[in-house]
């Protein structure tokens, strides 16, 4: 892995790089949820829709586990980012 590749952004919403993800795994993170809590990857506006697979791939590669063993995030409401003003308009 050269330096250029480690600078690659994995979570675009929160601008988390591949190196930051790898560092979290080296420190002991073993699930997407753990990596999310350490790095904020997956906490942005898309809620991990693009980066979850990418993070899990790095996790699988570094830990030697298959993607299906890694577990997935827990969806919680609201499932879409919405403005607080929208809640005010509840009918």
């Amino acid at each position: 892995m050269n330096e250029g590749e480690c600078q690659v952004v994995i979570c675009r919403c929160e601008e988390v790089t591949e190196e930051e993800i790898r560092e979290a795994i080296r420190k002991g993170a073993r699930t997407f949820s753990e990596i999310k809590k350490i790095t904020r990857a997956g906490m942005g506006i898309c809620q991990g829709k693009s980066c979850q697979r990418l993070v899990n791939r790095i996790l699988a590669e570094m830990t030697g586990r298959s993607v299906e063993q890694l577990g997935f995030d827990t969806p919680r409401p609201p499932l879409r980012p919405i403005k607080l003003a929208v809640f005010k308009g509840t009918d």
């Binding site: 250029g4 952004v9 675009r12 969806p75 409401p77 609201p78």
Partner: protein, 550 residues
């Protein structure tokens, strides 16, 4: 919507959601609503400008957006309520008889109470990361398709596509239709994942398909200017010094889809990881009900498959909802659903479908392991259908080819369809009964030369653009080739054109002698050209020069 309790709420208005709503209201369900978070209903259908595969019941040979129009008309005729611009942001009381869905629109949050919920939320695009993947110009192939076919904006002038599955190949062809130069399709696997007929469409237009290659890097200052492609060895490792640079201003990623399971996971339905179906999928019965009573799934959310499958799964789910609401008897529901399953097995047969069929059966079996005997009145009829029955008619598997002893005079069809894909549009399209596919529809088409009149209707009907009509007896030195043509400009009779071969190479000069187009052909023109006799088996595409001053 306040105070009303819906019989059925459908989340997502793609092919699965719409057919489910149509089926359940047809069977007597009264208050049916279809909710979609997008501005318009139809899911992905309205950006599908190509003709679909399948059988007549799956609208084979009809362009996707027209199928969308047909389904929406049925929905409105049946009085189904459609709501757009409303995202489902939560589901509460999922286990109860009446479930609460929370919607968020542009300016307010609302609530829908519903006895039954069908989640037909489709899929989302996968991505891959490499240096430069965040540059403007790198996008999902679905995004490129939306730009072109909905907003009429070209995603780039010179585009590289990563991924030679059906989606990548189809959108590459649509880019060519939009006047974009496709500099190549790159595929990490050592074979083309999509249908060969889709690959042939772009190859005869000169687009190279690079197998065992992937994108190493996208380079550019403010947007993509260059894409570096690298070769992969049999272990998917980069081959040193095999980099190839491509000048491109857009890179489209067609690297698969993931089922959109947020809502079913939020509701608490049991899921299982299945690689063949695209990742985490909700367990469901043969009736498309999830492990939570009253919540159903259909289409890509239940596993990434084709639109034809989504249409049938939607109908299956719609029947189950009608049954569970007491609109039809369990016996009659089981009867139609069994037939639908047999047809789904037919769609899922042979090399493209078989792995998905096995995966789907394992999902249903897993569902029953979880639900055990607590099903009460819900009868388990799955074991009564023979899922192996469908792909059995091996007898009719004759490779379509030009028989060497065929010295018949006059035009005849040449069917270049060599893979067992679930489609019989040629059989239903032929007015003379000359093409036979039979059951299952994955059979290769068999041409009866005695019945073929060389009329060319099948040329326009084949969604794979894989049928040609050749007449080697046109004149002493010349043959004619009739080919499907969906590009602009439309050639004119008498015009001289460059004739291209199966891989896009120059074959010869040709002359346009006929251009046939009817309403039924729906913009697939059948262009007949005259070429030197020896070129007839190779001539498969024409390059029409843009006329000056036009």
């Amino acid at each position: 919507m306040i105070g009303r309790i819906y019989d059925m709420t459908v989340v997502g208005s793609g092919p699965a959601g719409l057919t489910a709503a149509i089926e359940s209201s047809r069977l007597g369900c009264k208050r049916v609503a279809v909710i979609d978070e997008n501005f318009v209903t139809g899911g992905q259908l309205f950006k599908q400008i190509h003709k679909f595969f399948g059988s007549k019941d799956h609208y084979a040979g009809i362009r996707g957006f027209r199928i969308g129009e047909l389904l929406l008309k049925e929905v409105s005729d049946l009085g189904v309520e459609t709501v757009t611009n409303a995202a489902i942001i939560g589901m509460f009381d999922a286990q109860a008889d009446i479930k609460r869905l929370v919607t968020a629109g542009a300016d307010r949050v609302g609530e829908i109470l519903s006895k039954k919920v069908l989640v037909a939320s489709g899929a989302m695009e996968n991505t891959v990361s490499f240096p430069g993947w965040t540059l403007p110009g790198v996008m999902g192939v679905g995004a490129a398709q939306t730009m072109m076919n909905i907003y009429r904006v070209r995603p780039g002038q010179r585009v590289l596509v990563l991924g030679a599955g059906n989606v990548g190949l189809i959108v590459a062809y649509q880019m060519l239709q939009a006047g974009i130069e496709v500099v190549g399709v790159v595929e990490a696997m050592s074979r083309i994942g999509g249908y060969q007929v889709h690959a042939d469409k772009i190859r005869r237009m000169g687009v190279p398909i690079l197998l065992s290659h992937t994108v190493k890097e996208a380079i550019g200052k403010e947007y993509v200017e260059k894409v570096v492609v690298v070769e992969l060895d049999e272990n998917q490792k980069e081959v040193p010094r095999s980099e190839k640079p491509f000048d491109a201003d857009a890179l489209c990623l067609a690297v698969g889809l993931t089922p959109n399971t947020e809502l079913t996971r939020l509701a608490g339905c049991k899921h299982i990881f299945n690689r063949e179906l695209g990742g985490l999928v909700p367990l469901h019965s043969e009736r498309m009900e999830t492990t939570i009573d009253g919540i159903y799934v259909a289409g890509d959310v239940a596993g990434i498959e084709e639109a034809s499958v989504a249409i049938d799964e939607g109908r299956l789910a719609g029947t189950s909802v009608a049954e569970d609401l007491g609109m039809i008897s369990s016996e009659s529901a089981a009867k139609t659903s069994k037939e639908r399953w047999i047809r789904l097995c037919e769609l899922r047969s042979e090399s493209f479908g078989e792995p998905r069929k096995r995966a789907k059966i394992s999902i249903v079996e897993e569902y029953w392991k979880v639900k055990g005997n607590q099903m009460g009145s819900k009868k388990r009829w799955f074991t009564e259908i023979n899922t192996e029955r469908a792909p059995s008619a091996k007898a009719s598997r004759n490779a379509p080819s030009i028989k060497s002893n065929d010295n018949r005079k006059g035009p005849r069809a040449i069917i270049e369809c060599y893979q067992e894909i679930p489609c019989n549009a040629c059989e239903t399209g032929c007015n003379f009964g000359a093409i036979k596919v039979g059951f299952p529809m994955t059979n290769l088409p068999d041409l009866d030369l005695d019945r073929c009149k060389g009329c060319g209707i099948c040329v326009a009907k084949c969604p794979g653009l894989a049928i040609f009509v050749v007449d080697t007896s046109y004149s002493e030195k010349e043959a004619t080739v009739s080919l499907p043509y969906e590009m602009l400009p439309v050639p004119e009779v008498g015009q001289e054109v460059e004739v291209l071969g199966k891989l896009g190479g120059f074959v010869c000069k040709g002359k346009v002698i006929r251009v046939v187009h009817t309403k039924d052909f729906d913009e697939t023109r059948v262009v007949t050209i005259s070429v030197p006799k020896e070129c007839a088996t190779e001539a498969r595409f024409i390059r029409v020069a843009k006329r000056s001053g036009k």
